[in-house]
């Protein structure tokens, strides 16, 4: 039985030291509420995949506790595993099998009979646009199709917690957006989703809460809204009509000349952008378009990781 107040995932003081003494996780705590769409971000080697590996029992933890809907992954592994579906970073299905067979077999491993498994396989393959390719060898599917096949496989036992480790890596933008819609839809239907991604735009668009992990420690754990409020400056790219030979100067606004018709300007949250435009106008410089240099979450992410790199300098030897 699970109570609605129980977190979907609860991690307490989780550590992982690999055989080569590398400390991948240094005692992390994390709670993910039921129904959440949660982003777990961090640079390469930060500990994201190790955390996910421990949640789905592919990695053995060194110490700490992990519970899924209140069920401990060690003491009550059978029930805990029923609740989790995982989409790993790398393709991990038999490339010589057909998608339909992969899904039915995966359902079987969760004790689901073949007739029910076939119905669910049809439902998810259709929803993910793979039904027409159900009898092809999996190795003949495109990269995007393989990723969708892994999502269908993770959903075949209808888990309450879906963990996706970079599910849209290498997927074109159109397909990525259709996958976002699909994930948003199953989240609306009640599935808790934990997502790791390198596309910060993806995390910003989809996730309500976020944790940033770096060097095996959680450096930020808050709501997406609260995090974005912390952003105190933004960098804008301004396209200019004139052919600039020298970089314009505006007091309090650091400007970089990118190329003759483009400049970058850093604007603090407390500053008015009108004064910038007025000053440029006085210099006979006309702005024809303007955009953010990177998305807002990306700026914050880099700030935090950079800050952590400086503060945790003494611990970099772990890498």
């Amino acid at each position: 039985m699970t109570s609605s107040k129980q977190p979907a995932l609860s991690i307490k003081n989780l550590t992982k030291v690999y055989d080569d003494s590398f400390k991948a996780l240094k005692g992390i705590d994390l709670d993910v509420a039921q129904g959440d769409f949660f982003a777990l971000l961090g640079p390469n080697g930060a500990g994201k995949s190790t955390t996910i590996g421990i949640i789905c029992s592919l990695v053995r933890k060194t110490s700490g506790a992990v519970t899924i809907f209140g069920h401990d992954v060690d003491e009550d592994f059978s029930t805990a595993k029923q609740f989790v579906g995982v989409v790993p970073q790398e393709f991990n299905f038999n490339q010589f099998e057909k998608p339909i067979d992969i899904l039915v077999a995966q359902a079987g491993y969760f004790g689901i009979k073949a007739d029910v498994a076939l119905q669910r396989a049809e439902k998810y393959l259709k929803q993910l646009g793979l039904w027409e390719r159900r009898s092809d060898l999996s190795r003949n599917l495109s990269g995007g199709m393989k990723r969708r096949l892994m999502i269908a496989r993770a959903l075949i036992h209808e888990p309450k917690l879906l963990v996706l480790d970079e599910p849209t890596a290498g997927v074109d933008i159109e397909l990525r957006r259709s996958m976002w819609e699909f994930l948003q839809e199953i989240n609306k239907q009640g599935t808790t989703i934990i997502l790791t991604t390198h596309y910060l735009e993806e995390a910003e668009s989809l996730c309500r809460n976020i944790a940033i992990i770096d060097h095996g420690a959680i450096v930020q754990n808050t709501s997406m809204k609260a995090l974005l409020k912390e952003l105190n400056r933004e960098t804008f790219v301004l396209d200019i009509r004139e052919d600039l030979q020298v970089c314009p100067v505006v007091t309090d606004y650091p400007i970089t000349l990118v190329e003759n018709h483009s400049i970058e300007v850093e604007v603090l949250k407390t500053q008015s952008i009108n004064r910038l435009f007025a000053s440029l106008s006085e210099q006979d410089i006309h702005v024809i378009s303007m955009r953010n240099k990177t998305n807002r979450l990306e700026e914050l992410f880099f700030d935090m990781v950079e800050k952590n790199l400086i503060e945790g300098d003494g611990e970099k030897s772990d890498e």
Binding site: R60, K81, N92, N94, D101, A105, Y109, F110, G111
Partner: protein, 257 residues
């Protein structure tokens, strides 16, 4: 998981294993059949006709039970070792590791798959051998009992090999340097009565000897080894291998980081 769900999981693994070796039958079923037919032709008919009798039997009748057993041993072993290692290599073993399927069901599923191939090839070879030699069954329970236990034991051994294997070399070293010598020196082609005391005593530590002799007893009624002793030894080896394989799966050795 309740017992019905466990049965579904076991059935799924077994069906997947059978589908795998049937799909690639030119690699899994055909070669052992051709090899064994060549053995029958060369050792049984061409050379065997000049050897005369062995332990009171025409040589081809003496050698046939050993050749059938050899096909059961090599196919049971190689099916599990290649399938389980292949799943590790392609990482689709993770499909099972993230599921609630208990380790003992994973073990039984793969071993049952290995036994199906081993016994299937054994059955084909037995049918073919009828073309070369006359058979009568001396004891059906002994024949069936020992062939089942042999297949079980070598499927378990194949699983342990696959768990430890880190690359494709590792899954060919044991069959080449351990399994083949054990089989060839396990009384398939000769009676250990022909050996000196030292080699005869040394042969007694070879489990294949017990299997081949028990199977030969089941078919032809002759053996170099006490049958009860044979069953006991094969049973003991199987138990040790079963619990060793289960322990390795529980620990997640070479499977979970």
């Amino acid at each position: 998981m309740n017992s019905h769900q466990k049965w579904v999981a076991f059935d799924t693994i077994l069906r997947r294993e059978i589908r795998r070796f049937m799909r690639i039958w030119p690699q899994t079923l055909l070669p052992p059949v051709i090899t064994i037919v060549l053995y029958f032709v060369i050792f049984g008919q061409l050379i065997g006709s000049r050897i005369g009798t062995m332990s009171g039997l025409p040589y081809i009748q003496f050698v046939a039970p050993g050749l059938i057993m050899m096909s059961v041993i090599t196919n049971s072993y190689s099916n599990v070792v290649s399938s389980f290692f292949g799943s590790k290599f392609q990482r689709n073993i993770e499909e099972l590791l993230v599921s609630p399927t208990p380790n003992w069901i994973i073990l039984l599923g793969y071993v049952a798959g290995g036994m199906c191939r081993g016994l299937g090839v054994g059955a084909i070879v037995t049918l073919l051998s009828l073309y070369f030699a006359d058979f009568s069954i001396h004891s059906l329970p002994v024949t069936i009992g020992i062939v089942l236990m042999t297949s079980l034991m070598f499927s378990l051994a194949g699983l342990i090999n696959a768990i430890f294997a880190a690359n494709f070399d590792d899954i060919s070293i044991i069959p080449t340097f351990v399994l083949t010598p054990l089989t060839y020196l396990g009384g398939v082609f000769y009676s250990i009565e022909l050996l000196s005391d030292f080699w005869r005593n040394l042969s007694l530590v070879n489990p294949v000897l017990y299997m081949v002799n028990a199977f030969r007893y089941g078919l032809a009624g002759i053996t170099d080894i006490n049958i009860v002793w044979s069953f006991s030894m094969v049973g003991l080896f199987s138990l040790v291998l079963f619990f060793s394989a289960l322990r390795l799966l529980e620990k997640g050795s070479r499977l979970r980081s």
